[in-house]
Assembly symmetry: C2
Homo-oligomer: 443 residues x 2
């Protein structure tokens, strides 16, 4: 994702830059129109988009088939092919998600704060759209619709850059969305794709300071780091999760068992899955063995520190469990890894303080969980974390816009500015101070 | 402010980088301690700092005298010398400002949102410190104390980089602050200066992603742009103000006159002073002439469009006012200028719509004002602005943390993410989601 990187299209750099800046300017003008219309009008447009997606499902799937066949013959991984694939049923699900966005409260116009000053000035702090939002994501056609519609609901124009592997699908989806916007009297430039400009287009968008108000990368660490490295536009980093669970000796071990299993195995490839388990050395060995055995029975490979490995091998030898093969010795880099797979790093720690130390050293700042009964231990842990979310006697999997009741989610911010944790519609807005007087001047 | 730029100290780049990263790590550890203490303890430390500044006023002024003499002989501008100069009285004012910070409500721990989900999970969104805050500013010793104490109050460790011209002063001030912190049982590394590493130190700080949580530049356009260009750490842009005033034909012209005069002349060198005046062509010529004459009588040079120039020259010829010499024809770049001087760009526009068009084209997004009586015109103007603040029948000079009742101000954000407009203590915080369950797992 650098200015020198190549893409499979014949644009020279300067013309790509011009095209991107022009697209951003068209988006700005569209956003000005969008800022004037009512929530009702926006919701009507969203329902129209949902309907149009269903009406044109065949064209969309046909375009998607081209992407799928190309990537399949290019040898794309099965899991990625599955994320790329569209069926009429999946298009239906995407349309349903758009209808859900229509039902959400419009964040624009919310009065965040308002008061009257002693000198009589009326102050109102109001929520307003950001303007032009750039989205950079991987080859997942559903994100194209999701991002465009969330931005639209919050009153923003969007510039979309999906993975080149989904080029045909994204083009088809954006075409349908733009047509639906026009038919509803909204400027079609509220939603634009930059996919035809490949990586160069994405890089130019990240550099378009003053034209693009924010760039939100959605994807893996590589994508997000390249955006942070190249961007001159403000960025919201999302979703790298090296989530920890600490099980304290004071924990209810049944709860600990089900929370650990849920956090690791309920869904493997997600950013809020647990990747490291820290066990208090003061807990009962039997409980530790029970938790680790349950993980292994669930098909999870354990990357353990020497104590863990010794413990489980002893167990293996004692009662002949076929556990041993599921255990490997953790290397230093295992502690920092986001596996996104049936693997977990396990370490024995000397109580909550060593757990805190370990987490502060290796965490990606997403979600950390503690299972404990001692309120002293819990508050010590909670206050020492430096992450977007802390789960107490609950699974890390709850760090999710839907689960926390935000309705929709643009992504999970792992940065500290603007938005942190699950981002709802308000993360796609800013605010403005309105100062109303009657000829007031400053003394 | 680039990695290749030189500074008058003998550090090689790699060692400077190491020193800055080590300082950031010390700051992180100090911030962890700071997060644990009470508001009372922080306030006691702030009062101790205020007292220590007064106790050591002589040493501080002696150090400042070295800076002053050096810069005077280097030919520094009078206005900059004045901002650099410290007297025991000014040190007293700085100490008083610190006491004021002690009186402010601690933002840390504020519950921003809290609710219980249907499944029984308790959700609490809590305000927490950012961690390590980097400040880059110009040769103004008072900012050193102000920034350090505001960061401290919000529970953050600060890395300070002031202008090299204030090196001795900043070193002396930071020494006093650190001593006061230690004497109050707080880690002295809550406040550190990077001044000895010059511009290289600043550049390394901006690149220290993962070590520094945010960098806030306070100063002119050059400083702020160089930070945005070089930073890999999140940045909060502050205070470039090309503020506009639009006077509508419906305005009360007496109010218009006093607001325009106040916005332009009450203080010249500040970001919330008016730099461009837009006059509705439908307003009474006499009123326009009255406003412009008043500006000129106040010593303001008018950079007018051809109509304005013709209007005032006619006046000059008619009643022999010595106005003409105070008028020049505006060039294209006048419309985008932040004069920070006794100059104002003046243009006649065709009503509110042309005013909106002009402002959206040239504004820096700080503050725009309208003087009008027609509520339709006012709401049209307010909803079309894309700036941090909009003043209605009030001076642009009210966009200020103190004036708006924030108590203290770190700066005025002209960006849209995280903070917009005057930034109080809460702009130096982030938030964390606390998810409390009783063995809850995700279905």
């Amino acid at each position: 994702m650098t200015a020198t990187s190549h893409n499979n299209h014949a644009h020279n750099s300067s013309s790509v830059k011009d095209e991107v800046l022009r697209a951003a300017q068209r988006g700005r003008r569209a956003a000005v129109e969008l800022a004037k219309i009512t929530a009702q009008q926006k919701n009507n447009a969203l329902h129209a988009i949902a309907q149009a997606l269903i009406t044109h499902a065949d064209d969309i799937c046909a375009a998607n088939a081209k992407d799928y066949q190309r990537e399949e013959s290019n040898g794309m991984k099965e899991s990625l092919l599955d994320r790329l694939k569209l069926t009429s049923e999946r298009v239906g699900d995407i349309a349903e998600a758009v209808r859900t966005i229509a039902t959400l409260t419009d964040p624009v116009g919310e009065v965040i704060n308002g008061y009257r000053l002693p000198n009589g000035l009326h102050i109102t702090l109001k929520r307003v759209p950001l303007g032009v939002v750039g989205m950079i994501y991987e080859a997942r056609p559903n994100v194209t619709v999701d991002a465009a519609c969330l931005a639209l609901k919050a009153g923003n124009a969007s510039l979309l850059r999906g993975g080149s592997a989904a080029l045909e699908s994204n083009m088809a989806l954006v075409k349908v969305i733009r047509q639906a916007l026009e038919e509803n009297g909204l400027p079609s430039d509220c939603v634009q794709t930059l996919d035809e400009y490949g990586r160069e287009g994405a890089t130019e968008m990240m550099k378009a300071r003053g034209y693009v108000d924010v760039v939100i990368p959605r994807g893996g660490a590589g994508l997000i780091n390249s955006v942070v490295d190249n961007a001159r536009v403000p960025v919201i980093e999302t979703g790298i999760g090296n989530c920890h669970i600490y099980v304290d000796a004071s924990a209810d071990m049944e709860k600990a068992l089900s929370i650990v299993l849920n956090a690791k195995t309920q869904r493997l490839g997600v950013c809020n899955a647990a990747e490291t388990l820290l066990l208090d050395k003061h807990m009962d060995d039997k409980a530790a063995v029970q938790i680790l055995s349950a993980l292994m029975d669930a098909g999870v490979r354990i990357h353990g520190d020497p104590i863990v490995v010794a413990l489980m091998q002893a167990l293996g030898n004692k009662c002949g469990v076929a556990a041993v093969e599921k255990i490997v010795v953790a290397q230093e880099d295992d502690w920092a890894k986001e596996y996104l797979s049936a693997d977990i790093a396990v370490r024995i720690v000397d109580g909550v303080d060593e757990a805190i130390e370990h987490i502060r050293k290796y965490s990606s700042g997403h979600t950390e969980a503690i299972v404990a009964d001692s309120s002293q231990v819990i508050s010590r842990f909670v206050s020492a974390m430096d992450s977007a979310a802390v789960a107490v006697n609950a699974s890390t999997r709850f760090t999710d816009g839907g689960e926390l009741g935000l309705g929709a989610e643009i992504g999970i911010s792992t940065q500290k500015l603007h938005a942190r944790g699950p981002m709802g519609l308000s993360a796609l807005t800013t605010m403005t101070w309105i100062i109303e007087g009657d000829g007031h001047i400053r003394q």
